[in-house]
């Protein structure tokens, strides 16, 4: 320190003493001020990997927030996902090797005897953007509007959303209402198969239709309430209506013998094709979901317990319950660990079928799908997050979680040999996420 700066520094000390004398007070509480950052950057890199070479996703997500005066905020988001790996086709295991036509219709693949049929052509890059604007509306209101779009090889999503939140009761109560509308178009590889028609030989596209679309309307009503200094509770009701093409164009069901439960066989064409009778799935073209969500956050000396429960029911007869608990535990002033447990359970959709039965006396159902995500299953997520502040006050965190899902096919659906096989494709996945946040 030079002599000059030492002298200059004493200006502020002398001024402080003179001010105390002038105001006749003891030293005032020290100033606590900082410039509000204008930019907030939040970037995360996520790895999601299912075991047995199933889906692997590497996702890079960036959210940039620009804060303006008067509590107005612009938020821009960009997500890039790369997905690879194999996903269950919906066909059942057999004691003999099986072959299938790929979704593209231009080649086929084989599945060894006894193994779960997986479609290994699952490969995609998804780019998603979001834009949101938030601003106060009057003294107590907050208005948000947003836009979203994403593009995958076979899927285009565009959506708009808006919500309004109003504070009451000295800002201890907030009531909100919002909606989101999405208009999506689906361009399946090789064309959208006509539901419940057979998988055909390589080169035969006679049951493929053109592009499809669907609309989804979501409406949410919520209320949050400060109960005490330590407790914040929140409840939402949401309604979701989907209309249009709700099938997964790549999923099939095996057509089985009504006695043995084995897949009916056929001879593949010269250029390859299915070794059995497989029908493309068919789902209703609308779905109405209702859900209720409740959450409580309890603050205890820097520790935060965050527990939530969601109940969802829909007209596909799927009922689900989700229980989620996080506990944030500070370690020192600048880091924390946060254990997380989530339990999820759902009943199967009314049209969930492990397989279709070949019986001349019983007509095919109107709708059918063997997608394991529409089945009866339980899932547990358990993990730990560690977060810390860097020397320049930026936030970093790393999260490691395990996800395990196991399901059962209703006993009444099992026919003949199926009873002795492992029918529901259980799933285990590892999730690792690294996040970095800084403000300028």
């Amino acid at each position: 320190m030079t002599a000059t700066t030492r002298k200059e520094r004493s200006v502020s000390a002398t001024l402080a003493a003179a001010t105390c004398a002038l105001l006749g007070t003891t030293a005032a509480a020290p100033v606590d001020a900082q410039e509000e950052p204008k930019w907030d950057f939040n970037t995360s890199l996520l790895y999601y990997g299912e075991d047995e070479n199933r889906v692997q996703d590497v996702s890079l997500k960036s959210i940039i927030r620009r804060l303006f005066t008067d509590d107005r905020t612009l938020t821009l988001g960009l997500t890039v996902d790369t997905l690879t790996g194999a996903t269950p086709s919906g066909a059942i295991r057999q004691d003999v090797p099986q072959s299938f036509t790929r979704p593209s219709g231009i080649s086929s693949y084989d599945v060894p005897a006894g193994e779960l049929p997986l479609d290994d052509t699952f490969k995609d890059t998804r780019v998603a953007i979001t834009a949101g604007w938030q601003q106060p509306a009057g003294e107590k209101g907050l208005l948000s509007v947003g836009f979203s779009a994403s593009k995958e090889y076979d899927y285009l999503h565009t959506g708009v959303n808006a919500s309004y939140a109003h504070d009451f009761n000295n800002r201890n109560t907030t009531v909100s209402a919002g909606f989101a509308f999405a208009s999506d178009s689906i361009e399946p590889v090789g064309g959208a198969p006509i539901p419940l028609t057979n998988m055909l030989d390589v080169g035969d596209t006679s049951n493929r239709a053109g592009d499809q679309d669907k609309d989804v309307l979501d409406v949410v009503f919520g209320v949050s309430q400060v109960i005490s200094k330590n407790l914040l509770v929140q409840a939402n009701y949401s309604f979701s209506q989907s209309d249009g093409y709700l099938n997964n164009p790549y999923k099939v069901l095996s057509m089985v013998d009504s006695v043995t439960g084995d897949t009916l066989t056929r001879t593949p064409g010269i250029e390859g094709g299915p070794s059995g009778i497989f029908l493309f799935e068919g789902r209703p073209d609308e779905r109405t979901q209702h859900s209720v969500y409740t959450q409580a956050k309890y603050f205890m000396n820097g520790k935060v317990l965050d527990a939530s429960y969601r109940y969802m029911t829909d007209d596909w007869e799927i009922d689900s319950h989700t229980l989620d608990v996080r506990y944030r535990w500070p370690i020192g002033d600048s880091s924390y660990i946060e254990p997380h447990v989530r339990y999820y359970t759902q009943t199967e959709a009314e049209f969930y079928r492990l397989s279709l039965v070949d019986d001349s006396l019983v007509p095919l159902p109107q709708f059918a799908s063997s997608d394991y995500r529409l089945g009866n299953f339980d899932a547990i997520t358990a993990g730990l997050k560690y977060g810390w502040k860097t020397r320049n006050d930026n936030d970093m965190s790393i999260r490691v979680e395990w996800y395990t899902q196991s399901g059962t096919v209703p006993a009444g659906q099992l026919i003949g040999n199926q009873a002795s096989r492992d029918n529901y494709p259980d799933l285990n996945a590892l999730i690792v996420q690294f996040s970095y946040r800084f403000s300028r």
Binding site: T4, T5, E8, R9, S10, V11, S12, T14, L15, A16, A18, T19, A21, L22, L23, G24, T25, A27, A28, A29, P30, V31, D32, A33, Q34, E35, E36, K38, L67, T69, D70, D71, N170, R171
Partner: protein, 275 residues
């Protein structure tokens, strides 16, 4: 105070808000009446019309004069409550109306705290000299009002006199008090400051200046030369424990002209300087 004065309370109720604003208004008017150089009959008027005679002042005025004397000393004569007479020579209206050096010299003959005698509660000015506590009064009033508001009602309040402001405590319904610092145009806040405790004060008025031959003269006058301080920033905002400290620090920095930033950096105070 020559500017809009407001009191913001956070939470509480109308009764508490009324009590706080009434206490603040009473104190602000008291200080205005007592120290305004535009009013006849008050202590400043008595001093400025004493024609070389000593004027005995009350304790509060004495404290302000002590404070002014300290500022004169630590600023090396740049901060001088007797410099007001220079304002009769300079008019900062955006024109090229630079006064003649003779007029400046003439006014300078009546400027200089070192020529005043301040002892034993008596101030003696030479005939023609004047004091003006306008450079201290507003910040002093904010701090006085903040102290009174704090004891009048248990409700967080912000006392804001034309941008010089202080808070009694942290707000309750939100995390911080948010203060916008004006940018070059009046209706856009250039920066937002989160204030939880303490005070902010801003010096500088980008709309008051003179321009001649491409040289811009700010309205900050150096009483040692009688000329505007060259290369003064357009505005300086300082955060400090009290509004008085914040205001004096921003004024002292402004008087440093081109060295304002270096001066502020050495003080280790949170500040924002706009050129």
């Amino acid at each position: 105070m020559g500017s809009p004065c407001e009191v913001l309370t956070d939470g509480g109720n109308k009764q508490l808000a009324d009590r706080v604003s009434s206490v603040v208004a009473t104190e602000a008017w008291r200080i205005e009446d007592k120290f305004s150089r535009y009013l006849d009959g008050n202590v400043i008027h008595r001093i400025n019309t004493a024609q070389g005679e000593p004027v005995e002042v009350d304790a509060e005025t004495g404290n302000l004069l002590d404070f002014a004397a300290t500022l004169f000393e630590i600023s090396g004569g740049r901060f001088d409550i007797t410099s007001g007479v220079l304002r009769a020579v300079w008019t900062f209206d955006g024109s090229d109306n630079i006064p003649a050096q003779d007029d400046i010299d003439n006014a300078l003959g009546r400027v200089g705290w070192q020529r005043a005698t301040w002892a034993d509660s008596c101030l003696t000015l030479r005939p023609g000299m004047e004091v003006d506590l306008g450079g201290i009064g507003k910040e002093y009033a904010v701090d006085r009002c903040t102290t009174l508001a704090r004891s009048a009602a248990n409700v967080p309040a912000m006392i804001n006199f034309g941008g010089d402001l202080a808070v009694t405590s942290r707000p309750v319904t939100r995390d911080t008090w948010k203060v916008g610092i004006e940018g070059p145009t009046v209706d856009s806040a250039e920066k937002l400051i989160d204030l939880r405790q303490g005070a902010l004060a801003t010096s500088g008025d980008a709309r008051r200046f003179l321009i001649r031959d491409g040289v811009r003269y700010s309205h900050i006058l150096d009483p040692r030369s009688g000329w505007p301080v060259p290369d003064a920033p357009a505005s300086i905002t300082v955060a400090a424990d009290t509004c008085t400290q914040a205001g004096m620090m921003s004024t002292l920095a402004m008087l440093r002209g081109a060295e304002a930033e270096d001066f502020l950096a050495a003080q280790e105070l949170l500040h924002w300087c706009r050129r």
